[in-house]
Amino acid sequence: MPCFDRLSERLLRAGIAPRHVRRYTRELSDHFDDLVREEIAGGASRALAETQALSRLGSEDNLAVAMLERPELRSFMARFPWAVFGVGPVALLASSVAVALVAERGIIDAATVWVPLLGFTPGPVAAHAFTQIMLVWNTLAIYGAPLLFAWLFYWMGSRQRMPKAWIITGVVLVCVMGGFQNLTFYDTGCKGCGHLDLTSGLLPPFPNLAEGLARAALNLTLAGSLWRLAIRRRVASAIALHAART
């Protein structure tokens, strides 16, 4: 059975979309199996059948060039890395905050309408519990989302074998900008009142600048540590695979 790992790496580094590369190598393996069966049915020995099959399939260079000649099979990320790793972090963070905000507003509105209809009169304990739920939601949105997106950029970039500079750009942007965003809900104390607040420490008058810097540093430290861990795991699995093959 031929190994198409080298071909796969070459295509990914040249920008061919991972889904096309995966499917191509799987189809080539299946095709190789069919050719070997055909050759064996024609009377060839196993070794000869495999040699003939490889020759009929085409050389690695031919197989790579045939794919590389098709620019339509390149991924969006490979064609427009600036859009993915430059504009992407801004767009993702903005949309995540927008989604969190809209969802939060929806929950507050629904609670305002439905709670009185259900005949329940919220007291201070219920108001406190509601504020705590909002606090958890906001914390997830502003602390969790940047780290989740940093992992997404790392995963997508590594999968496409993008240059490290692009991946680092995306991860750093999302970690730093994500560190400065703030979404807070206050219970103002009066009945039916509450205050939902969205701010960014990167926009004038630069509120909570020191806190933003600290959170950005924390995000970068966490993302960097996870990156190192992922690289170590990848190296270990590559060594194990190499050892298994030899």
Binding site: Y24, H31, L57, A66
Partner: protein, 115 residues
């Protein structure tokens, strides 16, 4: 494709052969290559693996559609021509008939002049 001709002259040939062959029914890669060999009387010998990039490209252009099918315990990707592919094929066939007619005329003319 290993074809004994000027490559620029052969632009569109793989697409034509693939679409024409698949227009008779869905096939997977190996089946398709064998069908092309049989239809062309083995005159066109394909580096068999290079048919897949053409299939992927045609699919991304909407000329083909694919589906996975379990056959004898193996999952195969079957390709079939779409309506858009049929229209494109008709255009390619017209184009190639025009070219082969023109070349036929040219060859006939040359032969006549040489006589």
């Amino acid at each position: 494709m290993r074809i004994m001709a000027n490559p620029s002259f052969m632009n569109g040939v793989p697409e034509l052969l693939i679409l024409r062959t698949l227009s008779s029914g869905e096939m997977y890669g190996y089946e398709l290559v064998q069908a092309i060999r049989a239809r062309t009387n083995q005159a066109i010998k394909v580096g068999e693996g290079v048919v897949y990039p053409a299939l992927h490209a045609l699919e991304s252009e909407g000329m083909l559609k694919s589906r996975r099918k379990l056959v004898n315990g193996r999952t195969r990707v079957y390709y079939a021509v779409t309506r858009k592919g049929e229209k494109h094929l008709a255009g390619l066939v017209r184009h190639w008939q025009h070219i082969t007619d023109a070349i036929g005329l040219a060859i006939g003319g040359t032969a006549h002049a040489m006589l």
